[in-house]
Symmetry: C2
Subunit: 135 residues, 2 copies
């Protein structure tokens, strides 16, 4: 399936030499920056056409339908493209937690004067999401 | 100048084969995602040690002290590192506007049903920032 809707967005995106573009996921109502991952043309198209966020997993070399294993899906609220067309901002509605560690957000460490410190945030036991480690 | 403070953070970051890591800038109090750019080890160190955000300009192949030309500097409030250590989230205090177009944020276009649409946001005339086009 193709749609002119997705075609217009894709034509405005400058994919890198590897065919990928970085995509920042932000919770649409709270403003939390949840994670950053990568998309290719097909994952941008699928995300726009289904309303459910699909990335491209660089480690697996395969589409990564967020939450497919864990149930922690991201519903797309809005897809934004930056001035140079080489970065995306996805406004999403995140079910549960975004990070494979079970934390709400992937950015849970900060550079503190005494070393790396944890940033307090909601979390679940990753075993409850995957049974074992996963994404 | 080197500091153990910066060393600890840098040792937790997985820089890419090109020596760079993506850095998302978010306004610390409003939650606005302002821009995404790249940093190398030296720019992370300078940012942590001076408290003023310095990126690495891939197009110029040089340090990019944000606001050096435009005056639209970013003061670092907090530097966060993601679960895999391969993406940074900078909580900043942005003076004026973040985007070289004069818009407050770089993500000012959205994928709409009828094509790309502008997202309303604060802006200034870029000529007032640079005299001519710049960053």
């Amino acid at each position: 399936m193709t749609s002119p809707f997705a075609d217009t967005a894709i034509s405005a995106i400058q994919f890198g030499a590897d065919g990928l573009v970085p995509a920042i996921a932000q919770q649409h109502d709270t403003g939390e920056v949840l994670m950053m991952a990568w998309m290719n043309r097909d994952s941008v198209r699928e995300t726009l056409e289904t309303g459910r966020v699909c990335y491209w997993s660089r480690s697996r070399g395969a589409p990564w339908r967020k939450g497919e294993t864990s149930g922690q899906v991201q519903r797309l609220v809005d897809l934004r493209i930056d001035c140079d067309g080489d970065t995306l901002l996805l406004l999403v509605d995140q079910t549960g937690v975004a990070c494979h560690t079970g934390k709400r957000r992937c950015f849970f460490r900060r550079a503190g004067e005494a070393g790396l410190e944890d940033v307090p945030m909601g979390a679940v036991d990753p075993k409850a999401l995957y049974g074992k480690a996963g994404a």
